[in-house]
Amino acid sequence: MMERLGLGDAWSRVPARVRRGLLPLVVFLLLIFYPSYYGDITSAIGSSSTEAQLVPTVPTMVIMTVYVIMALGLNVVVGYAGLLDLGYVAFYAAGAYVAGWFATQQFSPHNVHILSVGVPSSIQGFHFNVWLLLIVACLFAAVFGIIIGLPTLRLRGDYLAIVTLGFGEMVPQAVNNGDNWFGHNITNGPNGLTPIDALGFGALHNEVSFFPSAYYNVTNAVSYYYWTGIALVVFTLFCCIRIRDSRLGRAWIAIREDEIAAAAMGVPLMRTKTWAYAIGAFFGGGAGCFYAIYKSSTFPGDFSLNISITVLAMVILGGMGNVWGVCMGGAVLSYLNYQGLEAVGNNVNNLAGTSFNVPQYTYGIFGFIIVLMMLLRPEGLIPGRRRRVELELGVEGGSLYDASA
């Protein structure tokens, strides 16, 4: 392609690393400056027209980053290790409630402030530093993943799926009933935990004025959340790629391709699978915590089975095992979920003069996408090379996921 542009030899002399990194870099830069040119795009289309609704708003972009992180996390479990997890929302909930517990007035007679930013010390309850909380939420979710994984990971493929689904249903119910756990109000039940402290950099603001002392102090708080989300996505991507190429990642792929052969080669099955669970949960917890902080609230109703299925659909749509595919799947489906379907529906209704309520059928459309993808292109839109070969050829001597151990 570059030859045709007249660059000829010059391009191929650029080191391969740089060449491969160029496209992600351009995309990254475009994404970073999105809030600044979002307004230009909409006004170019005509800011009050229905077509302009199709352009993702900055709040939608924040939600997209959350889902991309979750999809990347689930990709570790489903895509790398080949373990079907239908209860991923449990980890998301765990992360969100860590934020809810340690950055609200829930435990209000107690008054503990640890490095908290932007919260006057007169406000009661636990208030930890929100950045610290993000890490704590990730670790808490990872430990939670290990606890769930230990008894269940010995089960084979489809049984594992149904057990994780069970956990995914139990956690929201437990949280919903959590306003009375043996007489203690732990989760405030269906009323949820709100408000959650905002992100912020506190005194750092005096050194570098770009960093707000607390996000609610600036008018473009959404942009700051968006940039934070992008930073988290980049961190997640970096981890996912590095782990995939590590000894652990190769062990996951070996288990996915043939469990018995992997075990025979000395891969410790339980430990490797539990790590997959823990690391998948780690990112799920981080996403949940970040989303709860962004919304400044967390409710049990946020954690339905639909979320688990949506995130799974993202992984499948993008291409199991391929981080770029999964990023794209996550971005596209979360965009459709929060803005796109409604906008497309409005546009269609406008053109055809109908009044069809598209967002009502979001999950039906997702179901349709899942079925269609599995039937027509099971490897996803951007499959990993290795994955495609597996799906086309199968694996010698039996099915892919469960080597009936």
Binding site: P151, R154, G166, G364, M374, L375, S404
Partner: protein, 348 residues
């Protein structure tokens, strides 16, 4: 370190089992003593629920037994069965509880046939479109497709019958007279409870006969045992699988009719959860085992009714889902072959 977890020895396992059973019995006895009438009414409710779950659970067990697929869409086929029942019984045949029993009964049987035929046909169509092309794909592929299918069917149901709660009749009444047939210990027994048992038992017996004594049943068992070998023996495997789906769908249709006659309303999204309960029942009884599925369903129905209806040291309906899934997880972890299943190496 991690690998060496819950492999308890047989003895510890047995002791734990007895402790759980003993605690359960103490709880039951405590409830009987504290409120006997309440206990009987809850028991009757549990039996009716269990009968409905049994019909759904058999659909799971049949399909799992033959192609080892958790058919997540099965619960939604059941839900469409409840919807079709309302349309046929109330919409087309005009049953609304004002007719005499000798008019209602044959028309309910007509509705039953319609619901069974509809759900059987739908299940076959789902199999043909979504599962058959994936017969040789990796195992997770049809499982994921089944989840997608479930969401799709839910939305189809909502598109046709609406997103709101759907009552059986405009007044919300049952189409059977509310008169008490007879009383057990002061607890009334009504026609709508009787019909659940009256329909479930013959259907179950017919199913057992079909699987054990007829040629298609024999073919089903053969395909379940070894698909390739039965193909070599001249069995049309695709047709046998389609037949199994038709059978499972018909049972779900019957369950749909009974559910809506009993509860007098339905919703587009209740199928998924009820399906999961039924699947739990199938696992509890030992998946692939017909008697086991019926027994497990009865137990799950009773546990749900006990939990929601009793008052002495009972968690209450807020926790039903958690309790049932906890049972599922415990059974799968400690006794994956279920109550009646045989221990096989590849189950867990």
């Amino acid at each position: 370190m991690l690998a060496a977890l819950p492999r308890f020895s047989q003895q510890v396992n047995r002791v734990l089992t007895w402790v759980v059973v003993a605690l359960f019995l103490i709880w039951i006895v405590g409830n009987i003593l504290s409120a006997p009438e309440q206990f009987i009414s809850v028991l009757l409710l549990g039996i009716s629920l269990g009968a409905i779950y049994a019909l759904v659970a058999l659909g799971y067990t049949l399909v799992y037994g033959i192609i080892e697929l958790i058919n997540f869409a099965h619960g939604d086929v059941f839900m469409l069965g409840t919807m079709v029942t309302i349309t046929v019984a109330n919409g087309w045949l005009g049953l609304d509880g004002s007719q005499a029993w000798y008019v209602t009964t044959p028309l309910v049987l007509v509705t039953l046939l319609a619901a069974m035929a509809f759900c059987g046909g739908l299940n076959v169509a789902v199999e043909r479109v979504a599962y058959r092309p994936l017969r040789n794909a990796p195992k997770l592929a049809p499982l994921i497709t089944a989840i997608g299918m479930s969401f799709l069917l839910q939305n189809v149901g909502a598109a046709i019958w609406g997103f709101n709660e759907r009552p059986l009749t405009a007044t919300g009444d049952s189409i059977f007279p509310a008169d008490t047939l007879f009383s057990i210990g002061g607890v009334p027994y009504r026609a709508k409870s009787l019909i659940v048992v009256l329909i479930t038992i013959p259907v179950l017996l017919a199913l057992v006969y079909l699987v054990r004594n007829t040629k298609p049943g024999k073919a089903m068992r053969a395909v379940a045992q070894d698909m390739d070998a039965s193909r070599m023996m001249g069995i049309d495997v695709d047709r046998t699988i389609a037949f199994t789906f038709a059978l499972g769908g018909a049972l779900a249709g019957a369950a749909g009719l009974l559910f809506v006659m009993f509860q007098t309303s339905t919703r587009f999204d209740l199928g998924f959860q009820l399906g999961l309960y039924a699947f739990t029942a199938a696992v509890l009884g030992g998946i692939g085992n017909l008697t086991g599925a019926a027994l497990g369903a009865l137990l799950i129905g009773l546990i749900q009714a006990f939990n929601e209806g009793l008052s002495w040291h009972t968690p209450g309906s807020d926790w039903t889902e958690s309790i049932i899934f906890a049972i599922l997880i415990l059974v799968l972890v400690f006794r994956p072959q279920g109550l009646l299943g045989e221990a096989t190496a590849d189950r867990a």
